[in-house]
Symmetry: C2
Subunit: 261 residues, 2 copies
């Protein structure tokens, strides 16, 4: 099934309305005591807001697109085995540690893929009240402002964003990447990191991620002419974890070369 430009704009505007509501809901929840639990380890946090947001988003998707599948972080989605038809990706709070400790630098992310093709992505920066949204048919917008493709800088002329834990434990050759870049930063969340690459503040970002962490970012980044792959240069598997690399074309090539050396 191919969606028309009008249908895609309608979906975009519909989800933007959901995100308006979610933002207010999240800000109100932040004024109350958060219920914080851990998942796989003490650094893998989940809160009542993660769960409540996911329940609300998934219910909106089910009501709006009843045939669709949902791949979401906190267990209220489907056990998805293929990318046929409409598949939605939901990260109800991306960067939960930042959400809990910094009260900033987190995001709400949603993406729509149709028959495995990226169609629309939304990354809401809750605190700054900016939603980055769009896709190949629309372009990419920060709220209502259209974004240009970022400058195609090399790794040695730019800042690269890396997963702090993986760098610290010597994984994925991140130390070589960090040493080759002009500088590196650790943000601690996927959405805010994708935003920086999309805005040209960083030339690249790499971390091990689950599909809800990278689905929206991939739509927006590819639309803006950035390269998105796994760290070996292969397309991302949308139904499992990947060592994701998003970068300018030149920095992408620099990083793949480093990784293979």
């Amino acid at each position: 099934m191919t969606l028309s430009q009008f249908e895609i704009q309608d979906i975009d505007q519909t989800v933007l309305l959901w995100l308006d509501h979610l933002r207010i809901k999240t800000l109100i929840a932040m004024q109350q005591q958060l219920e914080v639990d851990t998942k796989h380890d003490v650094r893998d946090l989940v809160t009542n807001v993660d769960k409540d947001n996911e329940r609300m988003i998934n219910a909106k998707i089910r009501a709006f697109d009843s045939e669709a599948s949902i791949v979401s972080e906190e267990g209220f989605g489907d056990q998805q085995r293929d990318m046929n038809g409409n598949v939605w990706f939901v990260d109800p709070i991306d960067g939960t540690m930042n959400f809990v400790k910094e009260r900033a630098n987190f995001a709400i992310m949603i993406a729509l893929y149709v028959d495995n093709k990226p169609v629309l992505g939304w990354i809401l920066d809750v605190v700054n009240n900016v939603v980055y949204h769009g896709g190949p048919q629309l372009g990419v917008f920060a709220n209502h402002l259209r974004l240009d493709n970022p400058v195609n800088d090399t790794l040695s002329d730019g800042i690269v964003l890396l997963s702090g834990a993986r760098l610290l434990y010597g994984m994925f050759g991140y130390d070589k990447i960090a040493k080759s870049a002009l500088g590196y930063r650790v943000i601690g969340a996927a959405g805010p990191s994708f935003i920086r690459v999309i805005l040209g503040q960083a030339v690249g970002y790499s971390s091990k991620m689950m599909p809800w962490d990278f689905a929206a970012g991939q739509v927006l980044a590819k639309t803006l002419g950035l390269s998105v792959s796994d760290i070996d240069g292969q397309p991302l598997n949308m139904l499992s974890s990947n060592i994701v690399l998003v970068a300018t074309n030149r920095a992408h090539r620099d990083i793949l070369t480093l990784h293979q050396s």
Copy 2:
């Protein structure tokens, strides 16, 4: 010489007016092509804005406080040998790489010490239009809002901020600190890092810094009950580089213990 509460408030308000002007001047300069040079190495950047801002700030200080000494980054200050009398510290653009590449996450910082005692500090977050200012006689404010002391969390319950380059090259035991914390982040600039500790978003921050990097942050952090020392627990030398550690009292103890082990 001891300043009265009224005199200190007058100095605070005077510098806030300078910073209003500097902010506009900096934003206008960012709309034009920056002239970027390197200093000691390719990662040590300086721009026309660093130099212009420092010239302007130092001229304002000389006109306002003609007897004072100035310790500033870009060479327009004095060759200061002691902390007698009024000593001003000026960082005209803190986080120049962020300024150039991210166009965010940098600051303008000014501090006043009298006879080696911290009196006032200002950290201006230019992009977000928030100036963190105050001192022991006034308290600390984010613009007009008084800040509370941050919660006294431990290292293992909080996010720690570290110098990326020093962590990457295995210096100062930063890997142990990062592994013991709940998480770590790399921001790439002193002012924005001090702000996060002051706001309680991080439990601590450590980097090797020059006096203009830490003078303002030290005033604000100490006023808010945080611990500031070098990485061995000794008072900072205000006229040379230090491996600075600012942290909650509990995280400060945790980090000193780790560093000595």
